[in-house]
Symmetry: C2
Subunit: 451 residues, 2 copies
């Protein structure tokens, strides 16, 4: 069986659904309902008749209709028999949220072994156990927390539920949305390798974010990640870089963190792009979700803030992006269009007197310059009308990376407007430049990228 039943099930049972708000078995059922899942939803709880207006069954075996996916939130020692019941019911996919398995020691490990044995025998695939579940926005399935429903192009595979949730929360807050979120947990069966393969072929996923603490089959990982990277960007945050971090990994998911340099080499070979933190992971996803691939290294910075332009310059230079000399032709055009106080270099400093019209003139002139591939547009002051200007030039071939800071309430209004039409906005010169550098790195490893 493939993994489709996890992401597009016709129906779902919540085994261990609870009547009590605040309990996971209640919150997850509610999230499935509130995210708008259209298929059958079956709460399973022997002590309740109804939860959240849905008829409740004492056992999965009593559900009269067919069930495709089980979400399991019962104490670990009950899980092997629950999986057995699922098999009898014809279910072939189960997300086991419950903890209390191998992560807790020998006894839990034995329960996990029994569960896997039962699942294997009955042909049931398992995500988890000890995980934060799965979301799939295209079918309104949120078998996880917090509530996620905004559809978007980012998919995430994560060995940490919190990293998963953080990316989702930020993506939702910024109107970006997500496609598929998977918390790996103990990955007793389905692991990051198989999921990478699945998401690589998922037309709704444009970029894959991966948080891992280790992998059990490095060779296979490299092979699959490389194939995935040929199709779409794969961004990896791998923890356990330091000695103490590696020790913590061993306690957390019993993964062998291994020598960090080996992972570096493996990611390179896999053409996956490694990042250093959760925010960098998100910023990169946001860029890939919304921006085209830069066709070369040439960057121009356009700014109303001289200081921010210099900070962006330092960041670009440090990240291997190339600030091109302002092309003579652009300079001549702009000399006629812009007030004399503007500094017609790179960064192009429109000064604190900048207006949206001046940004428009600058972007129009730069669009015609073949040596310019990307434009970091820094708006460092309240700038009414800037959304119209950026959206006009967006998607005309150059990569436009908007950065907004210091503009107060007027800025918040324009930022929301841009995010609404899926134009990403970065909160600082460094974060904008870093996202652009990652976009460029991917374009280069893909060989799409000119020089």
């Amino acid at each position: 069986m493939g993994l489709k039943s996890f992401f597009e099930p016709a129906s779902v049972a919540v085994i261990g659904a609870s009547t009590k708000p605040g309990k996971l078995g209640h919150e997850i059922l509610r999230n499935i309902v509130e995210a708008g899942f259209k298929g059958g939803i079956y709460p399973i709880n022997p002590k309740a008749d109804e939860i959240l207006g849905l008829k409740c069954y004492p056992s999965i075996k009593e559900v009269p209709e067919g069930v495709e996916l089980a979400v399991v939130i019962v104490p670990s020692k009950l899980v092997p028999s629950v999986i057995g019941d699922c098999g009898e019911k014809g279910i072939r996919a189960a997300i086991v949220i419950s903890g209390g398995f191998s992560e807790t020691g020998k006894e839990g490990g034995e329960i996990e072994r029994q569960m896997i044995e039962t699942a294997k025998r009955l042909g049931i695939r398992i995500i988890g156990p000890n995980c934060q579940g799965v979301s799939s926005t295209s079918v309104g399935l949120c078998a996880s927390w917090p509530l996620v429903k905004a559809k978007g192009p980012i998919s995430v595979i994560s060995q940490s539920g919190t990293v998963l949730a953080a990316l989702a929360c930020w993506a939702i807050e910024e109107g970006m949305g997500v496609s598929k979120l998977v918390a790996l947990g103990n990955k007793c069966d389905v692991n990051e390798i198989e999921l990478l393969e699945f998401l690589a072929n998922d037309p709704e996923t444009k970029v894959i974010a991966l948080y891992i603490e280790g992998t059990r089959d490095g060779r296979k990982f490299v092979e699959v990640a490389r194939e995935a990277s040929d199709k779409k960007p794969v961004i990896v945050l791998k923890s356990g870089r330091t000695a103490k971090g590696a020790e913590a990994v061993a306690s957390h998911t019993r993964s062998l963190a291994g020598m960090d340099t080996i992972f570096d080499a493996a990611f390179k070979q896999a053409r996956a792009i490694r990042v250093g933190g959760v925010e960098e992971l998100y910023d990169a996803c946001k860029g890939f979700a919304c921006l085209p691939h830069p066709k070369g290294d040439g960057v121009v910075i356009v700014t109303s803030s001289g200081g921010s332009g210099i900070l962006a310059t330092d960041a670009c230079e440090g990240l291997g992006l190339k600030l091109v000399d302002m092309p003579e032709k652009v300079r001549n055009t702009l000399r006629e269009k812009l007030p004399p106080a503007c500094i017609l270099r790179n960064p192009l400093d429109l000064t604190g007197s900048a207006t949206s019209q001046m940004y428009d003139d600058a972007l129009t002139a730069l669009e015609a310059a073949p040596e310019v591939h990307s434009i970091i547009v820094i708006i460092g002051d309240p700038m009414p009308g800037i959304t119209d200007v950026i959206s006009k030039h967006f998607g005309r071939g150059k990569v436009i990376v908007p950065v907004m800071l210091g503009g107060g309430e007027a800025e918040a209004v324009e930022r929301k407007k841009l995010q609404k039409i899926h134009i990403p906005v970065y909160p600082s010169p460094l974060r904008g430049a870093r996202a652009l550098a990652i976009l460029r790195r991917y374009a280069k490893v893909k060989g799409r990228g000119g020089t």
Copy 2:
């Protein structure tokens, strides 16, 4: 004259006040009114009778009462004579917002020279020209934009108006507030050195953030910054690190960026702490504003998210903080208090089943451990009641650094509550750890810091 008239004037004139919303001369007048300035406010504009309900005068000389501070927003060529009028009126402090001076070339340079000459002759001190103004929340003065009124312990000196405004916007958004904000502009008279000296002795300022592109008197800067650092932390963001960045500095404020390594050495000698970006600058200020100085290197991470705990571990290790082995006594206490699934190491992993009560137990046990100086508390799930727990343990001697991510709406509620009582919350393990490392660095250079 000292600089007090810039920050605590009895009255202020806005020379070049405008009737038109959107124009700087209007916005700044409005911000002065809206920030709640209690002294006399005198708009000067020969073509208007009244602006925003305030009587307008054709010239500063016509104002019947005495005026302490002038805010000047008229075209540059008029500024020298305006400064002359200010002198006649007895004004000894002027903030010149207008651009069109030395930053634009020779002609503007000549106007700047005339302005300085007049000011020197009349004993007028000038901040600017070509700057984003000054805010001083204790007297409700916002001669700048955007509107700033929330009082707090952070003061900022910045050669970039946008960096200044970005810090202020973030501080306001997070309920932190600011004390004094100064945009240096061309710093034709008052410069970062004199302001550092002033803010070092300002009882309302607990931490000084500094963004500079260069300094004209390195020796004096080091001397004054060192004296300031003895009194309170001085955090510096210096741009122009790279060759292209240094070129951009030369165009922007005509500062000589100089060899970056020289600045590094100078900051070290001055005991100022250098940071790498605007967010890091803000995160450090936030930490100094609200947290005590760590009394040693020993850090424990308490987390509901195993993955985030490992990311924090990597960050701490990389930043020179020392993750202590979980003290045996704490481990024994917690073994009785916490569920067996918790991992009683460092990071202390409360697992996804964490509750506020478990955080309380953990913090109580850690408080008694002398080898623990700081605790990074990561909340990676919705955690009702966590504000009460953190505020209970806050200020009991250990440095508590809360990090929240992935908790959706429930998290936003608790974060707001914490910010309201001036407990800082960091949005990722890396940002929390980085802020703590900077706190620790300062404690060490101050010699307060144990080993």
